[in-house]
C-alpha cells in the first residue's frame, strides 16, 4: 500500500509538466486576520492557475490551538486535509504518528536542500525525509511603535535598552495614552516574556534557560531580573487586555491609541493592510537589548498521506508552489515575514523586512539566532504549555512575588 502510494507520487511528478490531472487540495490554516488572509489568497490563486481546486479550511485563533484541535479530530477519523499549518517540534510529533507524506520527490526536483538554511531544513525533516514545506521566516523579537504618538510624547527614537524603554513609556503614559498595547493570551504574554529574557540575559542565557530548560539558568539572578522587568511592563498596559487578540492590539497602535506593541513581524501585515508606511507612520525595531539576536518562527505546511492520486498530485504541486519564488515573494510581502528561500531578490521588500533578512543571515553566524518558545519552535508542547501557564499566571496576578514566579517557572520546566 505504502509502495503503491509512493509510486503514484513518483508518477505524478513525472507527468507534472504535462497537463491536467487536476486534484483538490484542502488546506487547513489559521491565517484569518487581514494581512494573513490576503497572503493565503495568493497561494490559492497559484494553485488554481495550475488547474487544481482549492478548498479553504480556515480555523480562527491566532496561536493555532483551535486549528490543532480540528486537525486531530480529522486525522483520528481517517480523513486528513492535504496540508495543514504545523510547525516546529510538532512536525516531528505528527511524523512519528506515521500520518505525514514523504515530500522527497518534490524536494529533490526543486533542490530544496540547497535553497534552505540547514537549521530550517532540519525542522522540516523526519528521519532525513522532507515531510513539510516551509513558507517563511518570522522574526519574533520586534517592537512596533506609532511614530506620531512617539513624536507627540517627545520620544526621539526607538528605545534600545529596557531602561530607555521605561523612560519612553512613562512619557507616553503621562500624555494619557496606553504605552504598551498588549493582547492578554498566554502566547502573547510569553512573546513579551521571551523578548525580555533575551534582552536582559542575551542569547546564550536564553538558550540555556528557555530552550535547554537548564534549572541553574532558570533559577539564576538573571531570571529574577527578567521577571522584575517583565512585571514593570505590565504597569504600562491597559486593564482591558486579558483575552484580547493580537491584531486588536496592533489596531490600537495603528489608531494612535497606544505607542508600542511587542509582537512578531506578522503585525506588519496589519500596518500594511491599513495603508501605513514603515519609517514614516510606524517604526519597527528589535525589542530593547536584542539588536544582535533573532528569535525565529518558521511557518510551514505539513503534508498528510492521501489515497486519491489526483489529490496527491495536487499536494506535490502545492509543496512546489509554496517554495517557488513567486509565492515566496508575494506571500511574504503581504504577511510581513521574509522568504525562507535563500538568495531571493529583496528589492520589493520594505526596510523592516530588509533588516530582518540581513539579521537572519548575520545572527545565524554569530549564534544569536534562537528559536521562539512562544511560537512552538523550541520545546515539546507539554513543557511549553506548562511554562506558558506559569508565565501567564505571573503576568496576570500581581500578588505572586518575583521569587515565587521564578520558582513556578522552574518547576513547570520539569514537565
Amino acid at each position: 500500500m505504502l509502495k503503491l502510494s509512493k509510486l503514484a507520487t513518483a508518477v505524478a511528478f513525472v507527468v507534472a509538466g504535462s497537463a491536467a490531472m487536476a486534484g483538490e487540495v484542502e488546506v487547513l490554516h489559521y491565517w484569518t486576520s487581514g494581512g494573513e488572509a490576503k497572503s493565503v489568497a495568493e497561494l490559492k490563486k497559484i494553485m488554481q492557475a495550475k488547474g487544481h481546486t482549492w478548498k479553504d479550511f480556515a480555523v480562527a485563533g491566532g496561536g493555532g490551538d483551535n486549528a490543532a484541535t480540528v486537525l486531530k479530530s480529522r486525522v483520528v477519523s481517517g480523513n486528513p486535509p492535504s496540508a495543514a499549518q504545523i510547525k516546529g517540534p510538532a512536525i516531528q510529533e505528527w511524523a512519528a504518528e506515521g500520518v505525514l507524506a514523504n515530500l522527497d520527490g518534490t524536494a529533490k526536483a526543486e533542490k530544496w536542500d540547497s535553497l534552505l538554511p540547514k537549521v530550517v531544513a532540519d525542522v522540516m525533516k523526519y528521519k532525513g525525509n522532507y515531510v513539510a514545506a516551509p513558507v517563511n521566516v518570522h522574526r519574533v523579537n520586534w517592537m512596533w511603535a506609532n511614530a506620531a504618538v512617539l513624536q507627540k510624547a517627545g520620544v526621539s527614537s526607538a528605545p534600545k535598552t529596557w531602561d530607555e524603554f521605561f523612560v519612553a513609556a512613562e512619557k507616553v503614559k503621562k500624555m494619557g495614552l496606553i504605552a504598551v498595547a498588549h493582547g492578554g493570551q498566554n502566547w502573547q504574554d510569553f512573546t513579551t516574556f521571551e523578548d525580555v529574557v533575551l534582552g536582559v540575559g542575551g542569547s546564550k542565557f536564553y538558550n540555556d534557560a528557555l530552550v535547554k530548560l537548564d534549572q541553574k539558568a532558570l533559577t539564576s539572578a538573571t531570571m529574577t531580573k527578567s521577571l522584575e522587568t517583565f512585571r514593570k511592563i505590565k504597569g504600562y498596559t491597559d486593564p482591558a487586555s486579558p483575552g484580547r487578540d493580537w491584531n486588536l492590539a496592533t489596531a490600537m497602535v495603528i489608531q494612535e491609541k497606544a505607542a508600542f506593541q511587542f509582537m512578531g513581524d506578522w503585525a506588519k501585515g496589519e500596518f500594511t493592510a491599513a495603508g501605513k508606511v514603515p519609517g514614516k507612520d510606524y517604526i519597527c525595531a528589535a525589542t530593547p537589548g536584542t539588536a544582535n539576536s533573532y528569535t525565529f518562527n518558521v511557518d510551514s505546511f505539513a503534508m498528510f498521506k492521501l489515497k486519491d492520486s489526483g489529490a496527491q498530485k495536487a499536494q506535490g504541486d502545492l509543496a512546489a508552489a509554496i517554495m517557488g519564488t513567486d509565492f515566496q515573494e508575494i506571500f511574504n510581502l503581504n504577511k510581513g515575514s521574509i522568504p525562507v528561500r535563500l538568495n531571493m531578490n529583496m528589492a520589493k521588500f520594505d526596510d523592516c523586512a530588509k533588516t530582518s533578512a540581513k539579521d537572519f543571515v548575520d545572527t545565524a553566524k554569530t549564534g544569536g539566532l534562537v528559536p521562539s518558545v512562544a511560537h512552538g519552535m523550541a520545546i515539546k508542547p507539554a513543557a511549553e504549555g506548562a511554562i506558558k501557564d506559569a508565565v501567564s499566571q505571573f503576568w496576570n496576578d500581581d500578588k505572586i512575588s518575583v521569587a515565587d514566579g521564578v520558582k513556578n517557572i522552574a518547576k513547570a520546566a520539569m514537565q
Binding site: A68, A90, E93, E97, G243, P381, G385, D389, Q393, N408
Partner: protein
C-alpha cells in the same frame, strides 16, 4: 406466537439500549483506559503508565485552581440563583400588576445560550468598554469595577453571569410551586395571627421542598458541566485563573497534546458526579415503606 409476543418488545428496545450502552458506558471505559496510558498527541495504547497521569494531575497547581473554582462557582451559582429566583417569585406572587410582562422579562435570559450570556457579560464587565467606562463617562470618576481582569476575582464574574442567566428559571419553578399552594392554609395561618415572613418561612417553604429540590438538581448539573459560559466570558483567564475542570480537560486533551492527562481529569470529574448521583439514586430507587 406467544414467544414472539414476548420477544418483540425486547427486540425493538435492544438496538437503542445497545447504542446507549456503548455510547455512555463504552466511552467511560475508553476514557478510563486512556487515562492509564502515556497518550500525548493522539491516543496511544501501547504505553501503559499506571497511575502516573493521576499523580501528575494532583501535582498540578492548575488542576487545584480548576477544582477550587468549580467549588466556588457551584455553591454561589446554585445558591444565588435559588435565593434570587425565590425572592422574585415571592414578590411576583403578591398579585402585582403586569405580572405576565415581568415574568417574561425575568425568564427571558434562560432562552439565551451560555455563549451569548458569556459574550454579553464579557463586554459589560470589561473595564474599558462596559460598566466602568459608562460610569466614568457619566461623571462618576471614582467608580471601580474591574473584577474581570483580576485573577482572584474573575471567577465571581462567572458567577454573576451564571446567576443572571438562571435566576429566572428558578423563579418560574418557584412561582409554579407557590401557585399550587392551597390559599386556605395561608388564610388559616393569618387567622391564627402569624406574620407574613413567618408564614413563608414555616409553611410555604416547607411545602415547596420538592420544587426546591428539583431546581437545585437541575442547577447543580448545569454548574458541573459549565464550559461554554467560562469559555465565552473569560476563556479560563486571566492566565488560568478561571479554569474549571471541564476547560482544564479540554485544554490538556486537545490543545496541549496530553490526552492521557486530560483523560485522567475527565475520570476525576466522573468520580465527582458519581459521588453525588449514586447516593441520590440509591435513596430514590430504594423502596419506600409508605409507597407500597
Amino acid at each position: 406466537m406467544k414467544t414472539l409476543e414476548n420477544i418483540l418488545p425486547k427486540l425493538v428496545i435492544a438496538p437503542g439500549f445497545l447504542i446507549g450502552f456503548a455510547f455512555i458506558y463504552g466511552f467511560m471505559i475508553w476514557n478510563g483506559v486512556l487515562s492509564v496510558t502515556g497518550s500525548r498527541m493522539l491516543p496511544n495504547y501501547s504505553e501503559f503508565v499506571g497511575l502516573d497521569q493521576y499523580v501528575q494531575l494532583w501535582d498540578m497547581d492548575r488542576w487545584w485552581v480548576a477544582l477550587t473554582n468549580l467549588g466556588i462557582f457551584s455553591v454561589l451559582y446554585v445558591g444565588g440563583s435559588m435565593a434570587l429566583g425565590m425572592a422574585m417569585a415571592i414578590f411576583l406572587d403578591q398579585k402585582v400588576r403586569f405580572e405576565g410582562v415581568l415574568r417574561t422579562v425575568y425568564l427571558y435570559p434562560m432562552a439565551l445560550s451560555f455563549i451569548v450570556t458569556g459574550t454579553a457579560w464579557k463586554w459589560i464587565l470589561n473595564p474599558s468598554l462596559g460598566l466602568e467606562k459608562l460610569m466614568h463617562d457619566l461623571g462618576w470618576a471614582s467608580f471601580h469595577f474591574d473584577w474581570l481582569v483580576q485573577s482572584d476575582m474573575a471567577i465571581y464574574c462567572v458567577v454573576i453571569a451564571g446567576v443572571w442567566q438562571s435566576a429566572g428559571f428558578a423563579m418560574a419553578l418557584s412561582l409554579a410551586g407557590l401557585r399550587g399552594i392551597d390559599d386556605n392554609i395561608i388564610k388559616a395561618a393569618q387567622l391564627d395571627g402569624a406574620s407574613l415572613p413567618r408564614i413563608y418561612w414555616r409553611i410555604i417553604l416547607p411545602i415547596l421542598r420538592p420544587v426546591v429540590f428539583s431546581t437545585v438538581l437541575v442547577l447543580s448539573h448545569l454548574s458541573i458541566k459549565s464550559f461554554d459560559l467560562v469559555m465565552a466570558l473569560t476563556a479560563g483567564g486571566p492566565g488560568y485563573a478561571t479554569d474549571v475542570p471541564a476547560t482544564f480537560m479540554y485544554v490538556m486533551s486537545f490543545t496541549r497534546g496530553q490526552i492521557g492527562l486530560g483523560a485522567a481529569s475527565a475520570t476525576m470529574m466522573l468520580a465527582t458526579v458519581a459521588a453525588i448521583v449514586v447516593p441520590y439514586l440509591y435513596s430514590e430507587l430504594r423502596a419506600k415503606p409508605h409507597d407500597r
